[in-house]
Point group: C2
């Protein structure tokens, strides 16, 4: 966790590109290989731990745990453990998480609409 050390508590204004700007706080949480995909999966409804893990190929148990803890910390998902045997744990988006996921849909749509252009740019540069 990389919470910013709170400086002087006076000025409520933040530099748009300093470490405590809202965009950076949010990006530091979601801008990794997997989080956006997990939010997408949870958008379809509550999911169990291993259900998530198996849905995203290459995602390890350790990393999934870290991601879910982070999302929980920020109030984006809830974790519910049912006292079954063995235990069942369900993760679900909060309203806040849902609204973020909807916002990220914009990125997904852009990606799908422009992936060709990107791949051609790479090819044009010999990649």
């Amino acid at each position: 966790m990389e919470t910013t050390p709170s400086p002087t508590p006076d000025a409520p204004r933040w530099n748009p590109y300093s470490a405590d700007c809202p965009t950076r706080v949010v990006l530091d949480r979601i801008a990794d290989k997997w989080t956006v995909l997990i939010l997408g999966l949870l958008g379809d409804g509550p999911k169990r731990f291993n259900q998530l893990r198996k849905s995203v190929d290459g995602l390890s148990q350790k990393v999934l745990t870290q991601i879910l803890r982070g999302l929980e910390t920020d109030g984006l998902v809830t974790r519910t453990a049912f006292p079954t045997v063995p235990v069942t744990v369900e993760y679900e988006l909060t309203p806040l998480g849902h609204s973020l996921r909807e916002t990220l849909d914009g990125v997904r749509l852009w990606a799908e609409a422009n992936i060709e252009a990107i791949l051609e740019a790479r090819k044009a540069k010999g990649m």
Copy 2:
């Protein structure tokens, strides 16, 4: 650079669930601590190298170079060197880069609108 060293051509790509494969390609490019912020800065117009570096708190010269090379590779920015003394280099968004930046504005707006909720969630969990 972060190009894959292994040139194995036909690896079984990520899970078929992902209509998100394009999303993954795009995320692998932009989903880091800095790239979205740089796209935001360039959205206001062309910027010189050190201009960008000084604008983003904590961003090193090395990482900025890597990011700009990556964005160039994907056709999102152009690099123009002017034969002044000393040399001047300008980075500018392509139309593709502009359209991505506009999409990412959605994320920025969400972040600014919901940062309070996130910080309170963290505080409620003792962070």
